[in-house]
């Protein structure tokens, strides 16, 4: 291997001095768990990404992609790290085709800037536009329509996340109930393979069966098969009306009975989110009536035509009352948007307050969400571990956040044991438990991704074939891939 200085010189020649940093102060901001990169590179387009990766391939350098860093706590500790590749300069919206309801963007574009770009001429937007500092002024442009459209995703940290990061992690939130997952919305991708080759798949059409669906393979692969550089998505017309119903219940059983009854009807809410009081109380919502939900709250998002929203609102309110719902608030358009943005930032809020925060994402079959929720609640309560719980009820997803003090080693140890116990429990039941965030020093003691299942050998074959040197995000993905 050449010495690293020579490699850096090669890099500088490729992308220019401004696009590489080796400043120790800067580098420390790009630590991934226990490792600090030797350089951070900021390519400005797909071609430059290709050049950088070709270099990494030639010199066998470990490379980790970085969007806005919202998900960098995910995954196993990296096996090695030489270069961080930041997508922050790849922030161009390449093609907006609202007549065809598609958008093509570079990986570093912020989710909020996509939504802002798709807003109506009257500034109706899927996110609370006035609350957001958008990156670039040019997102306000003249060809916006009157009806508007949006990218129907609901990722964590919706105001901060980049689209590349959302896709690499297949990140979703409560409103996946109606809009499904990023994997269902991606139409095409241009990525750079670990060899440096630029490869494309899919395109601008909703239907496309020409060749393997490489986009699906890229979604959720945590950059372990290559760098996703450009993506095309399917859009939806902006809902005519958006409203949120907030209910509080005296017991979890009442809340879950209400949620389950919703799924017995033909109503089509965008989200049915069940939360413990410890979660509700931390939803930071300026200018929104306090959602006091002791001991359990349910938030329902409605995004539909006006008459459909009004029918759902009436029927669901009556239904909630029949289950003994107490306080009842309804938020519309702007407050609705602010509420769900706050929901997407709940993890960030709790992380800032708890140095030892551990976030778990537990999936069990859809119908078992309430049982899973109760198991989690009981287990943590018995172990004396304070937690905030929420569930995407219709999708069988529970998010558990252990609110811990990172300095308190005894409690942290107990938490790690409890998590490992639960991980085994859920994997035996055809489910999965993924540790999404945990202070890095505890990662070695945890099964971060849970049991990868019988398809793991296929995944390994794929990884070894596509990235034989193991340079892409080394070791961080499932099973150490």
């Amino acid at each position: 291997m050449k010495n690293f200085e020579e490699i850096i010189n090669e890099l500088l020649e490729m992308v220019g001095r401004k696009s590489v940093t080796v400043e120790p102060d800067q580098l420390s901001r790009f630590r991934v768990d226990h490792l600090t990169p030797q350089a951070v590179v900021f390519p400005k387009n797909t071609r430059q990404v290709s050049d950088v990766i070709r270099l990494a391939h030639t010199h066998n350098l470990g490379l980790i992609p970085w969007g806005s860093g919202t998900h960098m706590a995910m995954g196993n500790p990296p096996k090695r790290l030489d270069l961080v590749l930041s997508t922050s300069r790849m922030n161009h919206i390449i093609d907006v085709d609202t007549a065809n309801l598609t958008i093509t963007v570079e990986a570093g574009v912020k989710f909020r800037d996509i939504q802002a770009r798709l807003a109506t001429q009257e500034d109706r937007c899927y996110l609370p536009l006035e609350d957001l500092a958008t990156e670039a002024d040019e997102v306000i442009c003249s060809d916006r329509s009157h009806s508007g459209s949006f990218l129907p995703m609901d990722p964590p940290q919706a105001d901060k996340a980049t689209i590349g990061g959302i896709i690499a992690t297949n990140a979703a939130g409560p409103r996946r109930l109606l809009y499904r997952l990023p994997r269902d919305l991606i139409l095409g991708v241009r990525m750079v393979a670990p060899t440096g080759d630029i490869i494309g798949s899919g395109g601008k059409t909703v239907k496309n069966v020409s060749g393997y669906d490489v986009s699906k393979l890229a979604v959720g692969s945590l950059g372990s098969l290559g760098i996703i550089c450009e993506m095309t998505f399917k859009l939806l017309p902006l809902p005519q009306k958006m409203e949120t119903l907030l209910f509080s219940f005296k017991s979890f059983d009442a809340a879950s009975a209400f949620a389950d009854q919703i799924f017995e009807t033909s109503l089509l809410p965008a989200a049915v989110e069940v939360l413990t009081e410890s979660a509700c109380s931390r939803l930071a919502m300026e200018g929104i009536p306090n959602f006091s939900a002791a001991p359990c709250g349910v938030a329902v998002a409605l995004e539909e035509f006006v008459p459909a929203v009004s029918r759902m609102s009436d029927e669901l309110t009556a239904m909630a009352k029949s289950h003994g719902a107490g306080t009842n608030n309804s938020l519309d358009d702007h407050q609705h948007q602010a509420f769900w943005l706050a929901m997407s930032n709940l993890g960030r809020t709790l992380e800032s307050e708890n140095s030892g925060l551990i976030t778990l994402k537990v999936n069990t079959p859809v119908s078992e969400w309430a049982k899973t929720f109760k198991t989690l609640e009981a287990t943590f309560s018995e172990a004396g571990l304070p937690c905030a719980l929420q569930a995407h009820a219709g999708n069988g997803v529970c998010l558990a956040r252990l609110l811990l003090d990172g300095e308190d080693n005894d409690t942290m140890e107990k938490a790690v044991d409890t998590v490992n116990h639960l991980s085994n429990l859920f994997s035996e039941k055809d489910g999965s438990l993924v540790v999404q965030t945990v202070p890095p020093q505890w990662k070695a003691n945890l099964n971060i991704w849970g049991n990868p299942g019988s398809a793991f050998p296929v995944m390994k074959r794929l990884k070894e074939k596509i990235d034989p040197l193991g340079i892409m995000n080394p070791g961080r993905f499932v099973g150490g891939l």
Partner: protein, 463 residues
């Protein structure tokens, strides 16, 4: 490769001699599908369980015999043609519903189940499996998965890939693995997503977990009649631009309507240039408003008349015509070639005009019946395959049509696959790097190149 008789005997040991077919007559029956392609297998085997499929695959692996799965053979691009001979695994005996799980909104099935049979079964419980390829009466779920089938309702609900939650797969060496499951978000690569639409080139599917949705409360079906095909195409873009996504937006031109009326009598206007079948579904609230808006848009685009299906019977008749269109066209000329090119929907008027011009240039009758809302064209070039000169013209015309689609920012196949038919045309949309990456994926699953070889990816050109 072992001799055919030994292969037949060994397969007989796995599935019982009665479930192995090897007479010339039998083999002939498995030598074609709904495309004009042909190719003879060496042997056909009808397994009844995953275990048997696994053993068959292990045998093929050991002996390096080509192997491919087959459902009902409705494939339009030659995906089920055994071009290199070998074993055809026909899944007709693996056609059971294994687990209809309403609380989890899934149904687990074997691959040989007929799509419509499954749909009728789940509908009894008030649920739907959305993808509705026109061949649903005959096609199998296994085939739908291999081809990532579409259908009219994909406009609103997405293609097969969006409705498959998990698979049981038999890999090249006979290993059985599960991907996905009843719980969502299984960590790891989306092998399910990669398998759907792989045209049977990565392995065999032996079980599938499908997503179910509650049947919509209300449905409204309209037939909009046009004097020019262009007005119809413009209506399609205008509806979407207005922020309305109907469940379907299907178009049929005069030539196809004539063929349909001769056999199905769906009541289409024979003096019109084109019709659109527009269907709305979901909650009834807001539907009336949407329907009114759609009618206004139709009028702005010079519609002659919009008919509303009054009841379920009228709706069924309108759809019977659409779904029987391919068959009806077969009555006009002995053969047809269906080009499956897809374009961004705003390009429809432009590309349709090109299709018509190409038909005139090659002096071939072309009928258009297609998923307009998705921009998914289906020009049907009608011909007589016994006439080699005509057949050659058809090939040229088809290639030009696909080129026109690719040039308009579209693709060469929306829902039928590349198969054998469009191997050459992959160059319209892929560069050599793209194809090389696909070959890498193929090799990861099938290093010996025995699983449905010769399909989908053109062989590498040696320089």
């Amino acid at each position: 490769m072992m001799d055919t008789q030994t292969l037949v005997d060994r397969l007989g040991e796995i599935v019982g001699p009665g479930n192995v077919l090897s007479s010339q007559m039998d083999l002939m029956l498995y030598s074609y599908d709904a495309s004009p392609e042909k190719g003879m297998p060496d042997v056909v085997v009808l397994p009844s369980s995953t275990e048997e499929v696994s053993k068959i695959m292990a045998l093929a692996h050991k002996e390096k015999v080509p192997i491919l799965g087959r459902g009902s053979g409705t494939n339009l691009t030659g995906g089920t043609i055994p071009v290199k001979g070998g074993i055809v695994v026909h899944f007709s005996r693996m056609n059971r519903i294994l687990d209809l799980d309403i609380p989890n909104r899934t149904v687990t099935v074997e691959p040989g189940i007929i799509t419509l049979d499954l749909q009728m079964e789940v509908l009894k419980k008030g649920f739907v499996y959305q993808p509705d390829p026109a061949s649903q009466k005959v096609s199998t779920i296994g085939g739908n998965i291999a081809e990532n089938s579409g259908g009219p309702h994909c406009l609103k609900y997405g293609v097969t890939s969006n409705h498959i939650q998990g698979l049981e797969l038999v890999l090249d060496d006979g290993t059985v693995v599960q991907t996905g499951g009843k719980a969502w978000d299984k960590p790891g690569f989306d092998i399910t997503g990669l398998f759907v639409g792989c045209e049977g080139t990565l392995g065999l599917v032996t079980q599938a977990i499908l997503k179910l949705e509650r049947a919509p409360e209300a449905v409204k079906t309209m037939l909009a009649i046009y004097e020019t095909i262009e007005d119809g195409a413009n209506t399609v873009s205008a509806i979407i631009a207005e922020g309305i996504i109907p469940a379907t937006l299907e178009m049929m031109d005069n030539r196809v309507m004539r063929a349909v009326e001769e056999t199905i009598h769906a009541g289409y206007p024979l003096d019109a240039a084109a019709v659109l079948i527009i269907e709305l579904d979901g909650m009834p609230q807001g539907m009336e408003e949407c329907a009114t808006k759609i009618m206004d848009i139709c009028k702005e685009n010079n519609v002659r008349e919009v008919k509303l299906a009054k009841d379920e019977a009228e709706r069924a008749t309108l759809w019977a015509g659409r779904k029987g269109a391919f068959g009806a066209v077969g009555q006009v000329r002995p053969s047809y070639q269906c080009c499956d090119g897809t374009v961004p929907r705003t390009k429809l008027p432009e590309v349709l005009a090109k299709v018509i011009a190409i038909g005139e240039k090659y002096n071939l009758p072309i009928g258009n019946v297609f998923h307009a809302g998705d921009g998914n064209l289906h020009p049907l070039i009608m011909f007589d395959e016994r006439d080699p000169e005509e057949k050659a013209r058809v090939q040229k015309a088809a290639t030009e049509i696909l080129k026109a689609c690719a040039d308009a920012g579209g693709t060469i196949s929306g829902e039928h696959g590349v198969g054998l038919e469009k191997l050459k045309e992959t160059s319209f949309i892929f560069c050599e790097n793209d194809l090389a990456f696909e070959r890498t994926l193929k090799q990861a699953f099938d290093p010996n190149n025995i699983i449905n070889p010769g399909k989908m990816i053109p062989e590498a050109v040696c320089h």
